[in-house]
């Protein structure tokens, strides 16, 4: 088991090392095989580890890192059902996306660098998934941030891409600060930094410290998972290659934030306030991003906002206390969102890097395979009854509806409204891109052939997107809730919600009706049949559309409220310091020290006599001090 887990974590790292050391000296084929097989190997290890997981959670130490007093740091994993499922998903999706990337990056010369980052990313993500030691986890946390930064700006020659990379890096750093503080607090409170220790001793926390810790963790998770208010980096992150968007910004890294909350759920559970905050942040983000997604024109930005919105549901589920619902939703989301991104990648590739959906259209006939794949993703994302997406979303809605606290009914309403919007924008995307009249792009240009490897890898994803949810089919509909049972051992989880069938039916019905209604509306508005009358009624004015399109002008708001005053302040200080010498303000320290340095360097005159004098003065002072002490005591 130890070996299996070791290989599971470190195989991708070995692949990454291979690429950086030998990547330039071997043929492209070798690089591709190493990249894919290291991740695939990791996937098989995850599978066999899952099958071997019988005796309950398991802690394996690979390496003791260093110890100083009470402080221990080690490279170790805590392998429990939650991390087992997550690791399986991460390795599976990563393996598929690696294979897809082989086709996608066929014409790019920098393949070695690309696969290096991709393999390294998988390693770091597995560290987040499995690590027991929080310092080790933090390493992975920073590692995925770095890989994300490097991959968003992968085509760094384009300034906009590099800027998007920087933006993502800086904004996620804001969250990481909170994580760092949380680490310190955990060490102070528990004297240990091990997840297994923290979760078993979480009940010893006082309410106040649990709230502070929970909020810090929430802030860290918000940064990583692009929730309000740190949302603005994710849409821009779409500048990276599409496989990267699928892997990092849909299936895995962005879910790391919510996964952290699940992993440390017993801590969060101790604080009512933290739970409510998580739920509220989740609902607001979900609603906000769904609105924004409705107005986007760039196919990838629609999906990016949709990711934010779906992540909001996961936060909501955690806030409602249903870790299992959140986890199943996370899994199902990973499958259909990766599928949608990769299918979108095919479309973009086929239309010569066209991103604007209104220049597409009518692609159903030209790209039939991609159409059916995309359809599978949209059905699941839109939570049409009968798909996996519906079952998982239903569980979350049931958990929220049946929450004892009355205010959660409002959250439920907001979630249902969001659900309506979700289905609407999902089908809008489908109809605009694949049905309707052919857009300019499609008419003018030849369809670029898509490598078969790119579409074939999507079939397993499509299957899982549609049917993975049935692992969790509620008992009301004759299901066994297999996944819930498996995850039941995880601390803080509630495997079965024990709701009266009436409520369950009510929630499911309302959700199903809402989804079908939204799909119908989308058909009317964007479907193949033109209907100007309905459009005039339902499509809002230009200003509102612009408002949505820009993501509620959050970017501009941050620019105006935070970035600009900061720059202004810096400029004023700079001018003051420059003109009126040192005003003694703290911000001047960055200039004071070099100035002090240039004064001190005058001491090194270059003359031996000065140096000798220094020797003598040093001796005199030392002797003087000793003499004083000598007579003083």
């Amino acid at each position: 088991m130890r070996t299996i887990l070791f290989l599971l974590v470190f195989l991708p790292l070995a692949g990454a090392l291979f690429h950086i050391l030998a990547g330039r000296h071997v043929s492209r084929r070798v690089v591709e095989i190493v990249a894919c097989s290291s991740v695939a190997g990791s996937f098989f290890m995850a599978l066999s580890a899952l099958l071997a997981l019988k005796q309950g959670p398991l802690r394996v130490i690979f390496l003791r890192w260093f110890e100083a007093g009470d402080f221990h740091a080690a490279m170790d994993v805590y392998y429990d059902p939650l991390s087992a499922v997550m690791a399986l998903m991460v390795t599976f999706v990563s393996a598929l996306i690696h294979v897809y990337s082989v086709g996608y990056m066929r014409d790019d010369e920098d393949y070695a660098r690309f696969f290096f980052y991709l393999n390294l990313f998988v390693f770091c993500m597995l560290v987040i998934t499995l690590a027991d030691d929080l310092v080790f986890l933090f390493l992975g946390w920073e590692g995925v941030g770095f890989c994300s930064y490097a991959l968003i700006g992968f085509w760094y020659r384009d300034e906009a891409n590099a800027a998007a990379g920087r933006k993502a890096f800086l904004l996620t750093r804001l969250g990481d600060v909170a994580f760092g503080v949380a680490l310190g607090l955990v060490f102070v409170l528990f004297n240990r930094l091990s997840i297994s220790h923290v979760t078993t001793h979480a009940t010893e926390l006082t309410a106040a410290s649990a709230t502070v810790l929970g909020l810090l963790l929430l802030w860290a998770a918000v940064g990583k998972s692009a929730q309000l208010p740190l949302v603005v980096w994710l849409p821009d992150a779409m500048a990276g290659p599409t496989p990267v968007s699928a892997l990092i910004h849909a299936a895995t890294m962005v879910t790391a934030g919510v996964y952290l909350l699940m992993r440390l759920f017993p801590v969060v559970l101790m604080s009512e306030a933290a739970l409510s905050a998580i739920a509220v942040v989740g609902v607001l983000s979900a609603f906000y991003a769904a609105c924004a997604a409705l107005a986007q024109k760039d196919i990838k930005r629609v999906l990016a906002y949709s990711t934010i919105s779906q992540l909001g549901y996961m936060f909501l589920a955690v806030g409602a206390g249903d870790v299992i619902g959140s986890m199943s939703f996370l899994l199902s989301h990973a499958f259909y969102k990766a599928l949608l991104f990769l299918a979108a990648g095919c479309v973009i590739r086929a239309l010569h890097e066209e991103h604007d959906i209104f220049r597409m259209g009518g692609l159903r006939g030209r790209l039939p395979a991609v159409f059916f794949l995309f359809l599978a993703g949209v059905l699941s994302l839109g939570a049409i009854p009968g798909t996996g997406g519906f079952i998982n979303k239903d569980r979350i809605l049931v958990a929220v509806f049946s929450h004892p606290h009355g205010a959660f009914k409002i959250l439920w309403l907001a979630a249902v409204a969001t659900s309506f919007l979700t289905t609407l924008y999902a089908f809008r995307l489908l109809f605009v891109v694949f049905l309707g009249r052919s857009g300019q792009s499609v008419e003018q240009q030849e369809i670029h052939p898509i490598p078969a490897v790119m579409t074939r890898t999507l079939w397993p994803l499509a299957f899982l997107a549609l049917f993975a949810g049935f692992m969790n089919l509620p008992a009301v509909w004759g299901g066994e809730e297999w996944l819930a049972g498996f995850l039941g051992g995880v601390p803080g989880t509630v495997p079965h919600l024990h709701i009266s069938p009436g409520i369950e039916w009510f929630v499911a019905m309302s959700d199903g009706v809402v989804a079908l209604a939204a799909a119908a509306l989308a058909f009317v508005l964007y479907g193949p049949v033109e209907s100007t009358r309905w459009r005039a009624v339902f499509i809002p004015a230009q200003t509102v559309r612009d408002f949505f399109l820009s993501g509620f002008y959050l970017d501009r708001l941050y620019q105006a409220v935070l970035a600009r005053p900061y720059m202004e302040l810096a400029r004023i200080l700079w001018l003051k310091v420059d003109e009126g010498a040192l005003d003694g303000c703290i911000a001047a320290s960055s200039r004071t020290f070099p100035l002090l340095g240039s004064v001190l360097r005058l001491w090194t005159t270059g003359r031996i006599s000065t140096y000798l004098l220094g020797l003598l003065v040093g001796l005199t002072v030392m002797l003087g001090l000793l003499v004083i002490r000598f007579y003083a005591g």
């Binding site: 360097r601 090194t604 005159t605 270059g606 003359r607 031996i608 006599s609 000798l612 004098l613 003598l616």
Partner: protein, 102 residues
């Protein structure tokens, strides 16, 4: 005044003369001689302590012998450095060597 302190005072005077000379002189040869004076002060100390105080009879003398040897080696190396410098600067004024500073 007992005999030990006489030696010690002479040694201290030698040492201080060397030190003063180093600070005063700009002439490299002069500085070299001053360094020798300091070392000799130390040697004299060793001899005196050995003669009057120490339980082990030969140690101080051996140390002094080593110091003499080292002083000779140091002088040789010092002179060759000074020679190399003189070839370049045509001067043995130590203050001329201040290209490196800051």
């Amino acid at each position: 005044m007992n005999e030990l302190s006489t030696y010690l005072i002479v040694a201290a005077i030698l040492f201080s003369m060397g030190l003063l000379g180093l600070l005063q002189r700009r002439n490299l040869i002069g500085m070299l001689i001053s360094i020798e004076l300091m070392l000799n002060g130390a040697s004299l100390n060793f001899m005196a302590f050995n003669r009057f105080l120490a339980p082990e009879p030969a140690v101080g003398q051996i140390v002094t012998l080593f110091i003499m040897g080292l002083a000779a080696a140091e002088a040789a190396i010092g002179l060759s450095i000074i020679l190399a410098l003189f070839r370049r600067m045509h001067s043995i004024n130590v203050e001329r060597a201040q290209q490196l500073r800051g």
